[in-house]
C-alpha cells in the first residue's frame, strides 16, 4: 500500500532524512519510533504530499505520489502531529467538512460521521463547538477527522499524545479494526507499550536513518536483553566486570549492565562498586522488551518524560 525508497530531505543545512526505505502492506500497522527530531514527521508529511523530498520515490497504492499527488491523496487519511481542528464550528461540522472533502455525502456521510464519533467517544459532543472541548477531546476529534472516510492508508503522527488511558485504548482498538479491514497504517508514537499492544511492526529511525526494523518480538529477541540499572546519588562509579558479555555503561548517575541473568549480575555488581554502595539509590531490572531493544539500538534510554505532550 505504501512503498518509500531512498528518501532524502534537508531543510537548509539540517538533514532530516538520509535515505529512508519503508514499506507498509494492506492490513499492516507499522509504527515509526525514534527520538525527537529523528525525522518521523518529515517522513509522514512527504508521504501525505505536503513536502517534496530532495530525492527518492513514494508509491501509494501503486500510484507514484510525487508525480500524481492528487490520486495518491485520495487514498490517504492524515492526522498531523500538531492539532488541526476548526474551533469555532461544531464537532459535527468539523467531521462533515473532512468527510465532504474526501467525497462523501448524503446518508453515507452522516453515517460515517456518527460511526467515527462513536468509535472515539465523541458522539455526545457532536453538537458542541470544537473550541470548547477539553484538550484530550480535541485530540480525539483531530484524529477522527483523518478517519471519517476510512482511508486505505492511514497516517497518524503521534495521535495519542496527550490522550488519557481510555482514549488511547479506544484509538488503538480503532486502528486495529481499520487494519483488520485492510487499511495500511503508519503510526508514529513515543509510547512503546502501545506498539506492543498494536502488534505493529516497528521501524526505528534516528537522525534521518532507519536503525532497525521488524516485528516487535523479533526486535526484542535480537536486541532486547535484560538490563540491570543502578542509580547513584552523584556520578556513577566505573566498574569492570569479569562476567562474559557487554561491559557496563555509565550515563550520568546511572550504571547500566546488559545481562541475561539479572540476579547473579546484581550480586556481582554490588561487590564491584565497593564503598560506592553508600551512594546507591536504586537497583532496577529492566526486562527484555521493546524498551531495552530501543536502548540497545539507539544507545539512549527511552524517556517518556522527554516527549512533548501536545494537546
Amino acid at each position: 500500500m505504501l512503498r518509500v525508497e531512498g528518501l532524502h530531505k534537508s531543510y537548509g543545512r539540517v538533514v532530516a532524512l538520509r535515505g529512508v526505505d519503508l514499506e507498509v502492506s494492506p492490513g499492516e500497522i507499522v509504527s515509526l519510533l525514534g527520538p525527537n527530531g529523528a525525522g518521523k514527521s518529515t517522513l509522514v508529511s512527504i508521504v501525505a504530499g505536503l513536502r517534496r523530498p530532495d530525492a527518492g520515490t513514494v508509491f501509494v497504492g501503486g500510484v507514484d505520489a510525487l508525480a500524481r499527488p492528487k490520486a495518491a491523496r485520495s487514498l490517504i487519511g492524515l492526522a498531523p502531529q500538531d492539532l488541526g481542528i476548526y474551533p469555532i464550528v461544531t464537532v459535527r461540522q468539523n467531521l462533515t467538512l473532512f468527510g465532504e472533502l474526501a467525497g462523501l455525502r448524503g446518508r453515507e456521510l452522516r453515517t460515517r460521521v456518527q460511526e467515527v464519533a462513536e468509535a472515539l467517544l465523541l458522539d455526545d459532543l457532536l453538537d458542541r463547538l470544537a473550541g470548547e472541548l477539553s484538550g484530550g477531546q480535541k485530540r480525539r476529534l483531530h484524529t477522527a477527522a483523518a478517519l471519517v472516510h476510512r482511508p486505505r492508508l492511514l497516517l497518524l503522527d503521534e495521535a495519542t499524545a496527550g490522550a488519557d488511558v481510555e482514549t488511547r485504548a479506544q484509538l488503538v482498538a480503532l486502528v486495529r479494526e481499520l487494519a483488520g479491514e485492510g487499511s495500511a497504517v503508519l503510526y508514529s508514537t513515543h509510547y512503546l507499550q502501545e506498539v506492543e499492544t498494536l502488534g505493529a511492526s516497528v521501524v526505528l529511525i534516528d537522525k534521518g536513518s532507519v536503525l532497525a526494523r521488524g516485528a516487535v518480538a523479533e526486535l526484542v529477541a535480537r536486541h532486547g536483553g535484560s538490563v540491570v540499572e543502578l542509580r547513584f546519588d552523584g556520578e556513577a562509579p566505573v566498574i569492570t566486570r569479569d562476567r562474559p558479555g557487554r561491559q557496563p555503561e555509565r550515563d550520568g548517575n546511572l550504571l547500566r549492565i546488559p545481562t541475561a541473568e539479572p540476579g547473579p549480575e546484581i550480586a556481582a555488581a554490588i561487590t564491584a562498586i565497593g564503598a560506592h554502595a553508600a551512594r546507591l539509590q536504586s537497583v532496577e531490572v529492566v526486562r527484555a522488551n521493546l524498551e531495552t531493544a530501543y536502548l540497545a539500538i539507539t544507545g539512549r534510554r527511552y524517556e517518556p518524560g522527554e516527549e512533548i505532550e501536545r494537546a
Partner: protein, 257 residues
C-alpha cells in the same frame, strides 16, 4: 479542479462566517452611516457640476460602496491565515481538494460579501437618502461585480506576499486606504491635486467610480460601463496572474492573535 471539494470548502467558510458575523455587519452598516454623514458635503459640488436636484447621495453612496469594498480586502486573506493559526491548513492541503479548489472556496465568500455590501448600500440608499439611479441597475450590478472580483484577486496577491497576519493587516489597511482615497471614492477625482488626478487611473477603484457615477448620474447603461468594466477585468487578470506566480501553498504562514 473538483467542484465538490471546492463547494465543501466554500460551505465551510460560510459556516465560519456565520459564527463570527461581526465583519459582515461592520462592512454593511458602516458605509450606510458614513454615507449619511457625508451626503451633504457633496451636494454643493454636484449642483455646481450641473446635476440638478442632487442630494449628495449620488456621490456619497457609490463612494462609500467602493471605499468599504476596498477596506475589506483583508477579509479574503484572513480566510487563509485562520487555517494556519488553527493548524488546519496542512489538513486541507492533504485532502482531495486541489490548491485551486481551496483558493476558490475561500475567496468566493469574500467576493460575495463585497457584492452584498455594495448592493445593499445602493438598495437602501434609495429610500434612506433619496438616491435616484438614473441609469440601468444591471449596469450597476455588472460594475459592482467586476469590482468585487478585482479587489479580491488583489487580496489574494496580498495574502501571497504576507508571511504573517500582522503583515496582512498592514498591507490591507494601507492598500484599502490608497485604493479608496486615490481612486476617487472618498473625495471626487476633480477635487484632488493634479498629481493625484494623474495617478488615479492606475487604480481599479478609479474605474469602478467612473462606471458607477456614470450609471447613477448620467443615466449610463451596459454599453456605457463596458470601458470601466473591461478595465476592472483587466486588473483582475493581472492580479490573478500575480497570485498564480507568487502564491505558495506550501509556505508556512504565521497567524498571531
Amino acid at each position: 479542479m473538483s467542484p465538490r471539494a471546492c463547494l465543501a470548502v466554500f460551505r465551510h467558510e460560510l459556516r465560519v462566517l456565520r459564527r463570527d458575523p461581526s465583519t459582515a455587519v461592520f462592512v454593511i452598516v458602516m458605509p450606510l452611516v458614513l454615507a449619511a454623514l457625508m451626503q451633504r458635503l457633496f451636494k454643493g459640488t454636484l449642483v455646481a457640476q450641473g446635476v440638478t436636484g442632487a442630494t449628495g447621495a449620488e456621490f456619497a453612496v457609490p463612494g462609500m460602496a467602493v471605499s468599504f469594498a476596498a477596506f475589506g480586502i483583508g477579509y479574503a486573506g484572513f480566510a487563509f491565515f485562520r487555517d494556519h493559526g488553527w493548524g488546519t491548513w496542512e489538513r486541507l492541503r492533504a485532502s482531495q481538494a486541489s490548491s485551486l479548489d481551496i483558493l476558490v472556496g475561500k475567496v468566493a465568500p469574500a467576493v460575495g460579501l463585497s457584492l452584498i455590501q455594495m448592493v445593499v448600500l445602493f438598495l437602501l440608499a434609495v429610500p434612506l437618502f433619496g438616491l435616484s439611479v438614473t441609469g440601468s441597475w444591471p449596469a450597476l450590478l455588472v460594475t459592482v461585480f467586476a469590482l468585487a472580483l478585482c479587489l479580491n484577486a488583489f487580496a489574494v496577491v496580498l495574502t501571497a506576499v504576507a508571511r504573517t497576519s500582522q503583515q496582512l493587516t498592514v498591507f490591507a489597511s494601507v492598500g484599502g486606504l490608497v485604493l479608496a482615497t486615490l481612486g476617487g471614492a472618498f473625495v471626487p477625482v476633480e477635487a484632488m491635486p493634479g498629481w493625484a488626478q494623474a495617478g488615479s487611473p492606475v487604480l481599479p477603484t478609479y474605474w469602478a467610480m467612473q462606471g458607477l457615477l456614470d450609471v447613477v448620474i448620467d443615466g449610463g447603461g451596459l454599453l456605457d460601463v463596458a470601458g470601466p468594466v473591461a478595465a476592472l477585468l483587466g486588473f483582475t487578470a493581472v492580479f490573478a496572474g500575480l497570485a498564480a506566480w507568487r502564491f505558495r501553498f506550501d509556505e508556512p504562514k504565521v497567524y498571531w492573535g
